[in-house]
């Protein structure tokens, strides 16, 4: 967006915010409509597609076997990768991950990891030697703002949909048996992102709001009402008061979503 358009848009958006309103007629703390579809990709061990307004994210989960990290020999491995594929936005270009897709992947990763969403100890096959490796691949298909929340929700939904192969160990060799077990999960974190515009906090910023926002804060919380991951972004700041306000909003909105999604 050129800076002239940005300035005009910013003024419109600011004027509405003063009245507690937004361009798309939501209230300041309202999410856009959320639609979740699980199991779309039969070939993956788990998958989910999330529509958050016009933002569309598909997450596929692959489960393979591999080696554990030396410092956690009894735990499976989880990695998150995010691709801002170029069909999702004219601003995305083909090529290796840039700072935006790396930040997205790492924020989603921390939300899952720090809340202990996956019971990684149950992914251990043979301590120090063989464990299940869970690849969470975030695929952004349409970018209309707030990729973090859409990706985080889609990732958890995909993990909830993930099945692991049954196996037994015979003579030191792993043998795949028939049937599947659901991926063992301990928590279902929900990440809520807010934009700061004109010193007000707006939940779930869409594309145009992101173009004019001063800064951004994403807060992941778990079902116990605890905070498990935070990421501030953008070129401006938050006051300490705004941070506390943001954590309250994040907890509130996560509770709402939990009810709505039955998580």
């Amino acid at each position: 967006m050129s800076s002239l358009v940005t300035k005009v848009r910013l003024k419109q958006i600011e004027q509405l915010i003063e009245k507690g309103k937004r361009l798309d007629e939501r209230g300041l703390t309202d999410y856009r409509p959320i639609k979740i579809e699980q199991g779309l990709i039969e070939r993956a061990e788990g998958s989910a597609r999330v529509l958050l307004g016009k933002t569309e994210v598909l997450v596929g989960v692959k489960v393979e076997t591999g080696e554990p990290f030396p410092d956690t020999p009894n735990e499976g491995v989880m990695t998150v990768n995010a691709e801002l594929v170029p069909l999702a936005s004219p601003s995305f270009e083909p090529g290796p991950p840039d700072e935006n897709s790396i930040e997205l992947a790492r924020v989603v990763d921390r939300g899952i990891r720090e809340s202990h969403a996956i019971d990684t100890e149950k992914l251990c096959i043979e301590p120090g030697k063989k464990v299940f490796v869970v690849f969470v691949d975030v695929y952004v298909l349409n970018h209309d703002g707030n990729l973090i929340d859409a990706s985080a929700i889609a990732s958890i939904a995909a993990l909830m949909n993930t099945k692991m192969p049954n196996y037994e160990i015979k003579d030191g060799e792993i043998k795949i048996k028939q049937g599947y077990t659901p991926l063992p999960m301990k928590s279902h974190p929900i990440t809520v992102t807010m934009a700061k515009i004109n010193n007000r906090l707006l939940v779930d910023p869409w594309f145009e709001e992101e173009q004019v926002m001063d800064s951004r804060i994403s807060i992941a919380t778990n079902e116990d009402g605890n905070i498990c991951a935070i990421q501030k972004g953008g070129s401006s700041y938050f006051t300490p008061q705004q941070i506390l306000e943001a954590t309250k909003i994040a907890l509130d909105k996560a509770a709402d979503l939990r009810k709505k999604l039955n998580w």
Binding site: L40, I41, E42, R43, A44, S47, K54, E56, L58, G60, V61, K62, E64, N81, E83, V85, P86, L87, A88, S89, P90, P94, P96, P97, F135, D137, Y139, L141, N142, H143, D144
Partner: protein, 243 residues
């Protein structure tokens, strides 16, 4: 070819229940992505593929623009979760080659000379692969270009034929692709009777080859009807998606 496993039974029925000249189910949707100038989604068997077109627009970087024609660029890319074993998201040599042949299968449909100095970018993302992704990608990409409003001489549609056990069959799915004897992907512009992609892997007699090409073109014609239908019903389909 695996000797023990029969891919076609005595009654001529294939592993997925189809006859030799029967296509897999094909579903097409146009205009599915709001940020692209044009887009399409195809389910061809279990293939699930999105295509988007951007342009005609200024080339970026500029030095790639051509003074006498439009430049078509194309990227065919597979999602890491689209195949049995997770695929690295970095483009493989196979993806680079397919990007090139897909581009060259679409160029004959465009009036490249009418839009000098501009570019059209086509991005194809294979979300799930089940054999024949390049063909399904072309079918979807042509719809995306049409949806972007880029004038076309004809739609391009693609379908493969090949040889499985000792039979020439149309539209191979994953297992047939891997265990069959030959695969002949064909892209075609039915109105112009023009073949815009042709590849072959495997071994065929000249006679078998001729039958395979004809069978693939027949498959193309059937899918062509679905393409035109999808373009017509675009707005209805879009409504369903967004409800």
């Amino acid at each position: 070819m695996n000797e023990k496993e029969k891919l076609i039974d005595k009654k001529g029925v294939r592993l997925d229940g189809r006859k030799a000249d029967e296509l897999r189910p094909v579903k097409l949707q146009v205009g599915v992505l709001s940020n692209a100038d044009g887009s399409a989604y195809i389910e061809h068997g279990k293939n699930k593929i999105l295509a988007a077109a951007f342009g005609p627009r200024e080339m970026h970087p500029k030095h790639l623009a051509q003074p006498d024609r439009m430049v078509l660029r194309c990227r065919y890319h597979m999602a890491p979760f689209s195949v049995q074993e997770r695929k690295s998201p970095a483009p493989s040599r196979r993806e680079v080659e397919l990007s090139k042949v897909i581009k060259e299968s679409l160029e004959p449909a465009l009036f490249l000379e009418l839009y000098p100095r501009t570019g059209v970018d086509v991005f194809v993302e294979v979300l799930q692969a089940d054999g024949g992704t390049r063909c399904a990608s072309i079918t979807a990409a042509a719809l995306a270009i049409a949806d972007a409003g880029v004038p076309m001489k004809d739609l391009v549609v693609a379908c493969a034929a090949g040889k499985v056990d000792d039979t020439v069959v149309v539209d191979l799915f994953d297992a047939e692709d891997k265990l069959g004897t030959a695969d002949v992907p064909v892209a075609y512009m039915p109105n112009l009777n023009a073949v815009t992609l042709l590849q072959m892997d495997g071994i065929l007699t000249p006679d078998e080859f001729e039958r395979a090409v004809n069978m693939a073109m027949d498959g193309c014609k059937k899918i062509y009807a679905l393409q035109k239908e999808a373009l017509k019903t675009k707005y209805m389909v879009v409504k369903e998606v967004e409800e």
